[in-house]
């Protein structure tokens, strides 16, 4: 057990070091992440300037800006750049073989590498995030109640897990299709639109709203942000967290099943 923990700790450490070597990427990436928010502020200012009423589906301009800032935070947890494409590349290059040979579980390995990746990201990004949130503090309606805040934090952690297992499942598809970059692009578009990263999902007409409720994507961005802004309260809040958890469990299982099936297929073909 100790030996096992030690192995995982070593993998975590190596991943951290690997991430830190490429500091150029880091500095650029962190800085750039805040640019879209700037254009969103300008766009929505222009939208509200031309519209008659001061609110759109219950959001004021400030609410919308706060919403975007919060989805940014949620996406910092739930987005997994390079995860699925990384798996696809390993399958293509045959690098995936090492997980068939070495006593290391692929998914656990990727999860640890991802946690390392995220930890380093938060380490570097905490400063810029705090600064931007401080500068934009006037857009926020104020701190939510403690229980709402706790629910918000929980939904963030769940969104990380959902993001990871969902995208890892996507990556496993590479066992069946040689090149999956385009498929991943479609997936990226879907998450961008239906996670609520592009706009508050409340703006959708009823039909679409129902559709979105049946998809896992809204728990990647919309849900945590809406919880923080007090758009989801009481019964609905508990229900939402429950559904989010259910999606996480669903993708943990599907990801593992896909991996097993993929490995079987892979070894069947003789690598």
């Amino acid at each position: 057990m100790v030996a096992r923990a030690l192995t995982w700790w070593t993998i975590l450490k190596i991943s951290l070091e690997e991430r830190l070597v490429y500091r150029g990427d880091f500095a650029l990436g962190t800085l750039m992440r805040f640019l879209p928010i700037v254009t969103q502020i300008f766009l929505w200012t222009a939208v509200f300037a031309a519209s008659e009423s001061g609110t759109i589906v219950g959001y004021s301009r400030n609410d919308i800006v706060a919403y975007y800032l919060l989805t940014m935070l949620a996406r910092a947890f739930s987005s997994m750049p390079g995860l699925a494409s990384g798996i696809a590349r390993q399958v293509r290059d045959g690098e995936i073989k090492k997980f068939l040979i070495q006593p290391i579980d692929l998914i656990s390995y990727l999860l640890l590498a991802r946690i390392a990746h995220k930890l380093v990201y938060y380490l570097v990004a905490a400063g810029p995030f705090a600064l931007v949130y401080y500068l934009c503090r006037s857009y926020f309606p104020g701190w939510p109640a403690t229980d709402v805040f706790a629910a918000f934090l929980l939904s963030l952690v769940l969104s990380f897990m959902l993001g990871f297992f969902l995208e890892a499942s996507m990556g496993m598809i590479a066992f069946w299709f040689l090149e999956v970059t385009s498929l991943l692009f479609v997936y990226m578009l879907f998450t961008f639109f239906f996670s609520g990263h592009m706009f508050p999902l409340d703006m959708l007409p009823d039909f679409w709203l129902t559709l979105v409720d049946y998809m896992p994507f809204k728990y990647l961005a919309y849900f945590p942000a809406a919880v923080f802004l007090g758009k989801i309260e009481g019964e609905a809040l508990y229900q939402g967290l429950l559904i989010q958890t259910a999606w996480v469990v669903f993708f943990i299982v599907s990801c593992r099943l896909l991996m097993q099936a993929g490995f079987n297929r892979y070894s069947g073909f003789g690598g």
Binding site: Y22, G24, D25, L28, G29, M32, R33, L35, P36, V38, T39, F42, L43, T45, A46, V47, F48, A49, A50, S51, I56, V57, P81, G82, F177, L178, E179, T181, S182, L183, F185, V186, L189, F192, F193, M198, F199, M203, L204
Partner: protein, 272 residues
């Protein structure tokens, strides 16, 4: 005889890329579909927004659709011809493939900028054409003139050149940084600014930002100039911006070439 036939080489690149794309036909199809879905999502978003407002910074719905189709034209061209190569560059540095490019008796920037053509991205070009044909007649008081046919394509091409310059300069940094995973992100965020009418950048912060992205990094002129030519009446106050766009294109191309050459110099002295 001393110079390779650049056109011939480019056509061979295009041909080889097509052969390659055709061997991964399913992928080609998915890619085409994904470009179109992106387009639909984008349109969907603005249709949603226009449910709640009559105009955004003086661009009404159909004018804005022209703006969006302009964005699509420019982006599809950039994505078809330059994007895969810029992404490939950091890979070339990592695997040492750049060494082979440096051996060839042909301009290295030409070679690494154009060796792959992503044909699937051109699907968006045709969808943009449809959108343009749909939106233009619905603009109030629009009158088609020969100038539209001359200037609109010209400025789209100039816009593509500006974006290419930004992109290749960014890609060249991967030679310095060792690798550049965030190139794509960076690119997305930078072009994100260009995808809106420049009038929305207004006020204490907006005006300097607009000036920065017009005169220092000229990405705002990329879409705005051709889109205005098509969607807004052709009036004299567009002339300044249009002439500036010409100048900006020339400077961007020269500047990015300089950056590229510097990056190669550092590659040559830094690797073994």
């Amino acid at each position: 005889m001393h110079h390779p036939s650049y056109l011939g080489v480019f056509l061979t690149f295009a041909r080889n890329s097509l052969i390659r794309d055709m061997t991964f036909r399913a992928n080609f199809l998915i890619e085409g579909i994904s470009s179109v879905s992106w387009m639909i999502m984008n349109l969907g978003f603005y249709t949603l927004v226009y449910r709640f407002t009559p105009s955004i910074a003086d661009w009404d719905k159909y004018e804005f659709f022209v703006f969006i189709s302009t964005t699509m034209f420019v982006n599809s061209l950039v994505q078809a011809f330059f994007m895969p190569n810029a992404q490939e560059l950091s890979e070339l540095v990592r695997t040492g493939g750049l060494d082979f490019a440096l051996l060839k008796p042909i301009d290295t920037q030409f070679l690494v900028s154009l060796q792959r053509v992503n044909w699937a991205s051109l699907g968006n070009f045709f969808v943009a054409l449809l959108l343009l044909a749909y939106a233009v007649p619905r603009i109030e008081g629009f009158e088609l003139s020969p100038w539209h046919f001359l200037l609109y394509p010209l400025y789209i091409v100039l816009g593509v050149f500006i974006l290419y310059s930004v992109m290749i300069a960014l890609a060249a940094t991967s030679i310095w940084l060792g690798r550049n995973q965030s190139l794509y992100d960076f690119w997305f965020y930078i072009t994100n600014f260009s995808r809106y009418p420049m009038e929305i950048y207004e006020g204490t912060w907006g005006t300097p930002l607009r000036q920065l992205f017009t005169f220092v990094v000229p990405i705002l002129v990329v879409i705005n100039v051709p889109a205005r030519i098509m969607a807004k009446p052709l009036v004299s106050d567009q002339v300044f911006l249009a002439s500036f766009a010409m100048l900006a294109t020339a400077i961007s191309l020269l500047g990015s070439r300089w950056v590229f050459k510097q990056a190669l110099l550092s590659y040559r002295s830094a690797s073994s």
